[in-house]
Amino acid sequence: MRELAAIGAFALAAALLPAFVSSGFALNLAIMVLYSTLLGQAWNLLAGFGGQFSFGHALFFGTGAYASAALQVHLGVNAWLALPIAIACGAAAGALVGAVSFRYGLRGSYFALVTLAFAEVFRILANSVEFTGGGVGLLLPLKESAADMQFPGKAGFLYLILALTLAGFLGSWWLKHSRFGAWLAAVRDSEESAAALGVDVFRVKLAAIALSAALMSAAGVFYVQYFHYIDPHIAYGPAVSVEALLGPIVGGLGTVFGPLLGAAVLQLLGEITRNLAGDAPGVSLVVYGVALIGMVMFLPRGIAGLIARRSS
């Protein structure tokens, strides 16, 4: 229950932010931290709670992004209507990858590789197909109206991303307090034992990847609405896949607040790096890579794990 209260408090604080802060820079920072949190929450669902490490989560991000963008650009569908459709597309992609991978018993490194391969296949396809605008990508026409999910000020986008991350928080909390979550954790820790205890391992993993994909595709939809643009490299390239896993690893796998902690710390690290090293491309990513290695080597349970250890 304390966790629910913490979630509520955080949501409230974030919602009140625009009332006290009007700097575009600060609001953008908050939005990017929440966006990064959402990516992490999606990945964390499958990896932290479910124990399946995907290296190609961009697959679902890109599917959601392209679905939403294409519906708006080619068919003039309203952005709010496109949102659930895009999420459904993302979930379907998740179910597809899951059905195929889990049916054939892919785990660990093999699963990571297969997700990477799927993302690459889609990237190449998106690059060659007209529907996605090919290599040029899709540009969303500027509308600047809440009715089209393009808000005139940053505050609107902040509330949108906050709503999505709230769904992520509640979903993670639910996993810690539900039967499905218990099943998922059992599958993560020992598939054989879980099966012997009556858990339908395949169905549980399938549901987990579909949920994870749904959340990830929501992030993709947000990206398109905020940046108005999507192309194959952004949609399906390794950058998003890496960003999704960095947060939870740093913040703490399989925890409710891990993705948020990780996103905040990484954003902070990024800002510090930018101040010290200027705008040289790649420097902040070097720092992130070192952070990744460091966390795995010294703090495998992440920052949340450190906090838990201190308080016990």
């Binding site: 954790a185 054989e192 879980a194 205890l197 009556g198």
Partner: protein, 257 residues
């Protein structure tokens, strides 16, 4: 309760099970023994759905259960433990057992409560909040047992639940197994610890090199020549008999004279 009929399993060049048939009566404690490599765990694997037999059938509660997936068998009332225990290491004892409890309890709260009940039954009450990774071998074996019990099974398959325990620990587990049977659960156990087999089992099945070589009450099995030879080698039964005839049985004090 459980009937295996003509089960055969082949791994490459090895016939792990060769036309094995046995029946487990409801409400009994039945033991499955045999030297290493006899096929006992293979039999468990087939019965519990982890292995598909090349031939033969398994009937559980009167219905065909051959080749059913483990989780489905569990839902029908068959639970098992593993020889090499695999606790959910990152979770507490309570959470571990709760996974089993969830089989028939969708509510998280109810499952956790039932887990506490089972833990108390098996003497794990004091360790409910301990991480499974921090338990001793004996503790982990009990946890394995508790998890399976939490599913509310009708038939419990115990795979060497006493392996790795010292005599004191074994003595503590025996009444637990008996209590489980007394509460209405049929028990089929693979065991190497003969003390437990003699003590607990009503019927004993003996496997050797994939084949069933003897079945019957423990006392009868202990004297069965084929069983002795399976464990001690060809001709052992005869040698033992001749040795017993050659040296007269002396009072315990004389042996050191």
């Amino acid at each position: 309760m459980l009937e295996a009929d003509g089960l055969s399993v082949r791994f490459g060049g090895v016939q792990a099970l060769d036309n094995v048939s046995l029946a487990v009566a409801a409400g009994s404690i039945t033991a499955l023994i045999g030297p290493n490599g006899a096929g006992k765990s293979t039999l468990f694997g087939v019965v519990s759905g982890f292995l598909a037999p090349d031939a033969g059938t398994v009937r559980f509660l009167g219905a065909d259960a051959t080749g059913l997936a483990p989780h489905r068998l569990c839902r029908l009332g068959m639970a098992r433990t593993f020889q090499i225990v695999q606790p959910f290491a990152a979770q507490t004892v309570r959470e571990n057992i709760a996974v089993g409890a969830h089989l028939s309890r969708p509510s998280r709260r109810e499952a956790l409560v039932h887990a506490e009940r089972i833990a108390a039954q098996l003497g794990l009450g004091a360790q409910l909040d301990k991480l499974a990774a921090n338990l001793t071998v004996a503790g982990r074996k009990r946890l394995e047992l508790a998890r399976a019990l939490a599913t509310g099974p009708k038939l419990l398959l115990l795979d060497e639940v006493l392996a790795g325990l010292n005599p004191q620990e074994i003595a503590e587990v025996l009444p637990v197994v008996r209590a489980i049977r007394d509460s209405g659960v049929t028990v089929l156990m693979i065991e190497h610890v003969m003390q437990a087999v003699m003590n607990l089992a009503e019927t004993v099945f003996v496997l050797n090199e994939g084949r069933l070589i003897a079945e019957g009450p423990p006392a009868q099995i202990a004297g069965d020549a084929r069983v002795i030879e399976a464990y001690l080698g060809h001709g052992a039964s005869e040698r033992l008999r001749r040795a017993a005839l050659a040296t007269p049985v002396a009072a315990s004090g004389d042996a050191h004279a």
